[in-house]
């Protein structure tokens, strides 16, 4: 057994993050950890990587007890963690980043720059990547940075590689490349612990799968005889069919009409959810930004409820009845420092004011109303948004846009990084909105979500709309094939 954890217990304050969890990793295997957000996955890998000490239980590596684990010791023993957000140093070169892990850490040692470059190039080649080691890490794309992190781990002679949701923001092709690298490392005898929310990809890579729920180890199974549906059932403790609500909504008048906006034309009607599928970088977010006035384009025409618009800023878009829940919640969504009530009403300052003076009573009543309607779990609307969980922060962001009473709602990756339960709630909210006559444009990279939620699906590739598929004709294979241009 390469790495083993027995009877691990860990509590934060009064919350038991892990209860009697046991986990093991063999040489030359990919062991996948799945579970909702909050199930205990991150805590477990932090313990394995030495970042957090367990309250009780023990670890062993190669059968030897692993005592006094710390990030430094774990690294020395060959346990490397690659986080979802690459932790490269953006202003250092690729070679320097890699050298940080592999060269001796003495601060006064003379640097051999040529050798450093050579070593970096060799490591990058060994993972099959063509990245110039002289480039600054900050100039690399996210998947490239991830590959640099893997090369860095290998340079430190890692035998245990822990990857936390590495494919969350990768396109299908980048995911393929990552998998090829991981499979190669596996065949060389490395043990890989892999956390993912994307169940569809597990069959491709997993040898064994461990399901965590509420801090407990529910089951460890061979990947070969476990279906996605079964995994979801184990993770959620509820049936799959409840995830996507069934909708029968008669479609109304056209609400959003695009005529060659960035070369794309389609219509979304009242009550309709129009899904935009495609690989990351296919131009979906750019299209949404143009509709919302962030990157105005002179060509093409946008009509809302039959009225021709010329939106040059988000302000004008909001006034015209368009709302857009952006993709990057941390940067563009709920503002952590501000109380929930201020977050919910930020886009409607005019409506919670008399003249230019804020009316706090009106603000509170609107914010409380949305808290109730969206089921935002918070002790008080005066709490800062940063005190909420990811799913609830997303609901606060959505409430800000719904408060503007839009005719058109654009959702960019609405459920990225939130847990299964919160997802189901988001879906329910979307269905309610559509049933009340809103036109929804949903961008999503999750095939199941696109197919489960959309009435029609537009597939984009390389900035062009390649096809529009009806719900009844949509299959994952078909959407994926169109996205890949096959």
């Amino acid at each position: 057994m390469l790495l083993e954890a027995r009877n691990i217990e860990k509590s934060y304050g009064g919350v038991r993050a892990l209860r009697n969890v046991s986990f093991d990793l063999r040489q030359g295997e990919v062991h996948v950890l799945v579970g909702e957000n909050g199930a205990g996955k991150s805590t477990l890998i932090r313990i394995l990587a030495g970042a957090v000490q367990p309250d009780s239980g023990f670890l062993s590596l190669d059968g030897e007890p692993l005592l006094h684990n710390s990030p430094r010791r774990a690294r020395e023993l060959g346990i490397a963690t690659i986080h979802q957000q690459p932790a490269t140093f953006p202003s250092l070169t690729v070679a320097e980043n890699i050298a940080l892990a592999s060269e001796s850490a003495s601060l006064l040692r003379k640097v051999n720059w040529r050798e450093r470059q050579r070593a970096a190039r060799r490591l990058l080649e060994s993972v099959g990547a063509e990245i110039d080691p002289r480039r600054e890490a900050g100039s690399l794309s996210m998947p490239e940075q991830q590959i640099v992190e893997i090369a860095k781990a290998l340079g430190g002679n890692a035998r245990v590689l822990i990857l936390d949701e590495p494919t969350a923001s990768l396109t299908e092709r980048e995911t393929e490349r990552l998998f090829a690298i991981l499979l190669r490392l596996r065949s060389q005898g490395a043990g890989i612990i892999y956390i993912s929310h994307r169940l569809d990809e597990l069959a491709r890579i997993a040898d064994r799968i461990t399901v965590l729920r509420d801090g407990q180890c529910i089951d460890t199974r061979d990947a070969a005889d476990t279906s996605s549906a079964e995994l979801i059932r184990l993770m959620a403790g509820r049936e799959v069919s409840t995830v996507f609500p069934v909708r029968e909504v008669p479609l109304g008048e056209p609400v959003l009409e695009l005529a060659s906006v960035r070369g794309v034309s389609f219509t979304v009607r009242a009550g309709e959810i129009f899904g935009l599928a495609g690989l990351v970088g296919a131009g979906r977010t750019e299209l949404a930004e143009t509709i919302f006035g962030l990157t105005p384009e002179p060509s093409g025409a946008i009509r809302v409820c039959g009225r021709q618009l010329r939106v040059r800023s988000p302000r004008e878009a909001i006034a015209a009845g368009i709302a857009c829940v952006p993709e990057d919640r941390r940067r563009h969504g709920a503002i952590g420092d501000m109380p929930i009530r201020a977050n919910s009403t930020l886009a409607i300052l005019d409506r919670i004011s008399r003249g230019t003076l804020l009316d706090f009573a009106r603000e509170r009543s609107i914010a409380s109303d949305w808290r109730e309607r969206l089921g935002i779990k918070a002790d008080s609307i005066d709490d800062p948004a940063s005190s909420l969980s990811g799913g609830n922060q997303q609901k606060v962001a959505i409430s800000r846009w719904l408060a503007t009473a839009p005719r058109v709602l654009i959702l960019d990756e609405p459920t990225q990084g939130i847990d299964v339960g919160a997802k189901a709630e988001c879906y329910r909210i979307m269905c309610d909105l559509a049933a009340n006559g809103m036109a929804i444009l949903m961008i999503s990279s999750e095939l199941a979500e696109i197919i489960g939620m959309s009435d029609r699906i537009g597939v984009m590739r390389l900035g062009e709309l390649r096809a529009i598929v009806d719900r009844k004709d949509a299959t994952p294979e078909k959407i994926l094939a169109l996205s890949l241009g096959q």
Partner: protein, 316 residues
């Protein structure tokens, strides 16, 4: 950041208690009035600086703006302009300085620290070149204390500062623009997406900063019968310290004017209290620095005892 303000308030109370026990003369009405009059102008500048810092910017040119505005006010008065017009022009000029900073920051996208560092040097050197270092002398008698006599003049200075502070404290909470300032300082991009006119608000904040500096320069200069052309040196550090001691986050979005009032109060009291306690005034700056450090250390210590909610929730 509230802990920082609380730590400072505790320190402030301890200092007051010490003074009450050891040097009750500190609380003589003349002394208190003197401190209020000397520091009222800085409080006005600190009010503007709080807005700038809350909006996620900084303005290090306020000392130079202050000097130019002071000399301008005095020069206009000496030229025979009625005081009311001289005052209006001074405030307008301040707003103009602020507009230059705002335009540089908002439209040419120069980081505010760089832009205002440049205007700080520019205005200061321009003033030195024009005045050749000479003081403005021979002011008309109605300039000092606005011709009201010292008692009434001092009352005007202190009450003006109080009114300016109160108006801005109220506006920051009750006016849409105040909410917008917090939103922009917390997350410029989120604010823009929410339809807040980010550029207009940021520009406005710099203009308010400049206009308030003009008001402060005016109120400060009427204390004197002649005006130094190198006045306002180091003013920017003093007011930025007051804002930071008051608990505002230097990266924007967090803080309040009440914190700034506390910070300005502490800074105002240190130097005279040293005199009253018989400590060499030489120690003033060292103690000032120690207070800032002490407050921040205390705040960190208080914060680390409670597990951060964000961490606890992300666990697992």
């Amino acid at each position: 950041m509230k802990q920082r303000a609380i730590a400072i308030a505790v320190f402030f109370a301890a200092l007051i208690l010490l003074l009450a026990l050891r040097a009750p003369a500190f609380f003589a009405p003349e002394n208190l009035r003197d401190m209020a009059v000397t520091n009222a102008p800085s409080l006005i500048v600190a009010t503007g600086m709080t807005l700038v810092i809350l909006a996620g910017e900084i303005d290090v040119s306020v000392g130079s703006q202050f000097a130019v505005a002071s000399v301008l006010a005095a020069t206009l008065a000496r030229a025979g302009m009625p005081l009311i017009f001289a005052a209006l022009l001074t405030v307008l000029a301040g707003a103009g300085f602020g507009a230059v900073n705002g335009a540089l920051v908002v439209w040419t996208r120069v980081p505010s620290i760089v832009a205002t560092l440049a205007t700080m040097a520019f205005w200061r050197e321009l003033l030195r070149w024009i005045t050749q270092g000479a003081w403005v002398q021979g002011l008309p008698p109605q300039f000092q204390w606005m011709g009201l006599g010292q008692g009434a003049g001092e009352a005007v200075i202190v009450s003006s500062a109080a009114v300016v502070f109160a108006v801005f404290a109220w506006m920051l909470r009750h006016v849409q623009a105040g909410r917008a300032v917090y939103a922009i300082g917390s997350s410029r991009e989120s604010a823009r997406l929410a339809g807040i006119p980010v550029k207009v608000v940021s520009f406005g904040v710099f203009i308010a900063m400049g206009a308030l500096t003009g008001v402060a320069a005016l109120l400060d200069s009427i204390r004197f019968s002649e005006i130094q052309s190198n006045t306002g040196m180091g003013l920017e550090l003093k007011v930025i310290s007051a804002v930071v001691i008051g608990g505002a986050s230097i990266t924007g979005g967090r803080g309040s004017l009440w914190g700034t009032l506390l910070g300005a109060g502490v800074l105002a009291v240190i130097a005279p209290s040293l005199t009253f306690l018989g400590v060499n005034a030489f120690w003033e700056k060292a103690i000032q620095g120690a207070i800032i450090l002490g407050a921040i250390v205390l705040e960190r210590a208080a914060a680390s005892r409670v597990p951060t909610p964000a961490l606890a929730k992300n666990a697992g």
